[in-house]
Every structure is written in C-alpha cells, then in structure tokens.
Symmetry: C2
Subunit: 125 residues, 2 copies
DNA sequence: ACTTGTGATGTTATCTCATAACACCATTGG
DNA sequence: CCAATGGTGTTATGAGATAACATCACAAGT
C-alpha cells in the first residue's frame, strides 16, 4: 500500500458512495492539485485486484468495499435519486449462477447492479 | 422504425454478438461511409427502450435481443475468450431481487453480466 | 390552406472515461 | 555490482458518449 493507492482509497472511504474517476483525479492532491489520470487509474486497478474497491460499470464509478473478504464478488443496489449505494453479496447458487451452469459457462467475474430507489427516496417521492 | 434505427438493428442482428458503438458507427454506411456518433447513439437509445437491443455495461457494447418481450430485463453470459454472449432471463425472486427487497430498495433496472468461458472455449483450453 | 406541435434527423463541437508509451526510481536477489 | 521487477511521473492519445442547435416530415386543430 503506497502513497497514491492510500490516497485513492482514503478518498473513496471518505465519500462513502460511488465516485467518478475524474472526481478522484480532481480531489487527489491535498493542496487542490489534480493528479494525472494514470495515477488514479493505476491505484484503482490495484485496489480492485485486492477487493478493496469495486467498479460500478453501469455508472462508471468506483466505490470502497464494505465487507467481504479479499477479491470477493459483490452486487450493488444503487439509488438513482440520491446516489446511495449498498453492497450486497449474492448467495451462491442463485438463479443467475444456475443459468450460467445450465448454459455450460464457467463464470469468473460478475457485474450485478440494480438501479432504483432507496428506502428514504421511496418515501420522499 | 425509421432508416437509421433499422440500419443499426440490422448491423446488430448480423453480428450476432456484442458490438461496440464506434464499430456500428464505422459500419453504418452501406458504402463504407461512417455515421456521426449521435445518429447511432440515438438509434441505440430507441432500440433499447423497445427492448430490441441491450447494452452490456461491463464491455461498453450493444447486442440485439434474443427472446424476451418488450422492455424486459435481461442478464448475460459473456465469454472473455471468444466474445460469444448468451442472453438469459433471471427468474423472478432470485437471491439478488430478495436482497434488494430486504434492503428496502425498489429496483427498476438491472445490469447482470457474468464473464468467463463458454463451453467451447472451456474445452479448447 | 395555415400553423402549431411533436418527434426524427443532420451536423458541429465537446465532454467524459480510460489507456498506451516511455522515462525514471527503489527494492531485491543473484 | 547489476539485472529484474514493480511502482511512479508525464505526455499524449484513444475510446465512449452527449450537448446544442438547425432542419425536416408529419399529423392535429382551426
């Protein structure tokens, strides 16, 4: 865990919600100086390999992991209203995994993201 | 169903696998002329609304729908080896949907994509 | 027929997201 | 000492997507 990696993780943990890569780039320097893109992307790549950070493909954003061991699979519930995101852990042998098996596929990595409304926004609407 | 929309759908059906937006743009003109990006992106947006095309977020590509009614949810099995993609339809009440419900989220749209190896590539390896 | 509204298209420009390529530096193990 | 490895800094560019505005076709209302 080196300087840039620590800094990116720190920013993600501080945000507590998904952050866009270029927002991380902009906030990278403690003095307000932006980082160069590869600095942040390389840190994200590392943190993702470690399972400390996840990429949320449907919104091209990154979020610090909450729970789960090293290099684990994760699924996300994302509120389109307020941006809140919750990490959940799909059960082994769920219907998607079964469908994959039935089709003869060996799945190594999943992207599972649900968009909708969180409890708070559901009430507010 | 207008000209550009028909053309984009035709390209996707002809490909039979996920195609990148800029590949569609490049192949758009029957005379080899490329389209302008908005032409293709607007067609994709329309086709996606109709449920005739799906976007695969994890690889930023688009694929013609195989089965499923209008505006249905879909999940994908993607072979990282040969690019083959299979559309599957998650059962209602699978573990992800249950997790969402338990968390109080109302999910309107899902992105479910599994990466791995198709039967053919699994044997080949 | 006029005209008004709507939805589609064409076009230019730009924005966002991500990576290639190369130079440099530190650590480690032969 | 000196490769080999892995991390970082920097420049530049590639890839994905959309904003904004002009134009066009068509149907509905008067």
């Amino acid at each position: 865990m080196t300087g840039p990696r620590r800094r990116v993780l720190e920013l993600l943990l501080g945000a507590g919600e998904p952050v866009k890569a270029y927002d991380l780039i902009a906030r990278f320097g403690t003095d307000g100086q932006a980082a160069k893109p590869p600095t942040v992307y390389r840190a994200l790549e590392f943190l993702e390999r470690q399972g400390m950070v996840h990429r949320i493909a449907s919104i091209s954003a990154y979020v610090a992991c909450t729970g789960g061991g090293p290099a684990h699979a994760a699924a996300f519930l994302i509120c389109d209203c307020c941006g809140a995101t919750q990490e959940v852990h799909p059960a082994r042998g769920d219907s998607f995994a079964l469908a994959a098996e039935a089709a003869g596929y060996v799945i190594e990595r999943t992207t599972i993201e649900g968009h909708g409304r969180c409890p708070a926004c559901r009430v507010a609407a």
